[in-house]
Symmetry: C2
Subunit: 189 residues, 2 copies
DNA sequence: CGCGCGATTGAGTAATTTCAAATCTAGTGG
DNA sequence: CCACTAGATTTGAAATTACTCAATCGCGCG
């Protein structure tokens, strides 16, 4: 019985699955619901799962000693999120993940991930492709921080992910771009 | 016959290998020498291999339309380097990799990488750990670009990789930190 | 000795931040 | 449904940071 077609769709962007294969995979996931302002992960905690976002919106951020938030990732429908460093190394989290909207997630433990990868070579490939995509996105982000000024980064983000600007408060967009909200606000012309 | 103990040492930081296993792996690598100012990779080219640095020093950079270089990575002894996006996707390179000192490298093709991963589960694990370490490093770099000013980034780099400052011309350090060389020069007090 | 490249220094300028105040908005309880 | 409040956004002005451009310095090498 297929319960989450969105997850299947996402995986099948990379590999092909039979109904049986997909159902088998899906059974390793557990659903989790979060309300606004609830934490999925808090600094210092252990991180047992990675999560696929069925619906909603979350932000991953680092909190400095001075209380400044720097946003590493926004996760919307169709995205994977967790503190990957903590998850893979089974180490304490170094970031917070916070729910911006009421959200539904599917969680997968590291053991189940490895089990699935071992049993289905295709899935191991899927996870590697996802992980590479993740690295490539980080590369692009480093580049944009090195080569572009704040206005250019803003325009690029607007073009790449217009939905961010509709759903996410401007102050978090600013914390993602690495500018003050005042500066971001002045760009809107 | 073991020819490159440095490579073995590097792999054995993560997994254990017998002599036979290591020699088998080593035989998939081919040595390559480069002189100063030679390119390992140029934008637009295809990228058939990833490289382990036996000795020397290389820089991976992006060239903007205005001719400005932004440095993504310095690779010294013991590091892996290539245009990973191009290598994994078998797509044209988007960066240049340039030799700063006479260097000796060991190249591994994607096919051989996958072959080794398939045949030795340990090595698949090694490659995943390396890839995660890579992601984590990029995460840290995004964070440092978001949270720190140029002076703080400079001090952090000096602490993390003091050898960069001895071997690499200041202008490239500046291009790595994302500041002008004049600004970098003014930090030295 | 002098060339050439990289590094440094100075001065003026542009971009962005900070702080403070004014405005707008969404969510809450009555 | 409305009024109210806390939070979010915008605007202004001053202060800071880093940049650009230009000139100078220092050193290795032919």
């Amino acid at each position: 019985m297929i319960k989450y077609p969105l997850l299947r769709q996402q995986i099948e962007r990379v590999i092909q699955l039979t109904d049986d294969e997909y159902v088998y995979i899906e059974n390793h996931f557990t659903e989790k619901k979060l309300r606004r302002h609830q934490f999925l992960v808090q600094e210092g905690e252990s991180v047992s799962k990675e999560y696929f976002v069925l619906e909603g919106c979350l932000k991953t951020y680092h909190l400095s000693n001075e209380g400044k938030e720097s946003i590493l990732q926004f996760a919307l429908e169709d995205w994977w999120t967790t503190d990957f460093e903590a998850y893979f190394k089974q180490a304490p989290a170094t970031v917070y993940i916070d729910c911006l909207e009421e959200s539904r997630l599917l969680g997968l433990t590291l053991d189940d991930r490895e089990k699935i990868s071992r049993e289905m070579h295709k899935m191991e490939h899927y996870f590697r492709v996802i992980s590479n995509a993740h690295s490539v996105a980080l590369h692009r982000r480093v580049l944009s921080l090195l080569t572009m000024d704040a206005k250019q980064r803003h325009d690029q983000l607007l073009e790449l992910y217009p939905s961010f600007f509709q759903r996410i408060p401007k102050k978090w967009i600013a914390a993602y771009l690495g500018v003050s909200r005042e500066t971001l606000s002045r760009f809107k012309k």
